[in-house]
């Protein structure tokens, strides 16, 4: 079973990204093969140079703040899918990556184009596009 998702929201800015990762977690745990086409702001998710930080407002250091990093979510969900017998083929829109200077990305993700989205969609049982507007 393959399902494909498309997302364009950047991390930390919209509840849509939370929902997207909740959906991904369910599908990954079921061992589905999952295609993800991340474009526009969503290409930030697997950016490797994300770093955790403390928060002076919370009076916490880096360890205590335990700030969530989207790249870890991507990495962990890929591992969850693999353990369950599935996979996540995460494709970042290459133009969107270049515009934003977002390299390197989490190992196992790849850059691509809308043609990859089309190919994933054609190979999938179903597709969900989570539009920003």
């Amino acid at each position: 079973m393959k399902l494909t998702f498309a997302l364009m929201d950047a991390p930390f800015e919209s509840e849509r990204t939370t929902t997207f990762f909740r959906l991904l977690a369910i599908a990954a745990a079921r061992g589905y093969d999952i295609g993800v086409f991340a474009y526009e702001g969503a290409v930030h998710f697997p950016f490797e140079q994300q770093t955790p930080h403390g928060n002076v407002v919370h009076d916490t250091d880096t360890a205590a703040e335990n700030h969530p990093l989207p790249k870890e979510w991507v990495r962990e969900l890929m591992a969850v899918a693999e353990r369950a017998g599935g996979s996540i083929d995460w494709v970042n829109c290459g133009l969107c990556v270049d515009e934003r200077g977002l390299t390197p990305a989490v190992a196992g993700t790849r850059r691509g184009t809308p043609a990859d989205f089309l190919a994933m969609a054609r190979a999938s049982k179903n597709v969900l596009t989570i539009g920003t507007r």
Partner: protein, 108 residues
Amino acid sequence: MSDYLLIASRDPFTSPSTREVYELASALSERGHRVTLFLIENGVLAARGSADYGALREIAAAGVRVLADEFALRQRAIPAHALLTGVEAAGLELVIDALAAGAKTIWH
């Protein structure tokens, strides 16, 4: 007859286009399709029994299955017993179930 899952993530009070999703759900149901309207994120705000908003009641009465994401309800402190008659709480798994079953799924 087809199965449709319409996902409404915005509340109709601040996003008027949500009304169009409701209308689409009703129109599809009237044409004999099996339609589920799944309220998620701020979309669940319209499902409060205390909200002075009749559109969801009308949709449910027209045969559309109206469900609200349990997680979004908890985040907004809306208990299941406070939902409009005809609206039930449900888990997000139903979206993956619908996709896996081949339902035509639209996000708004």
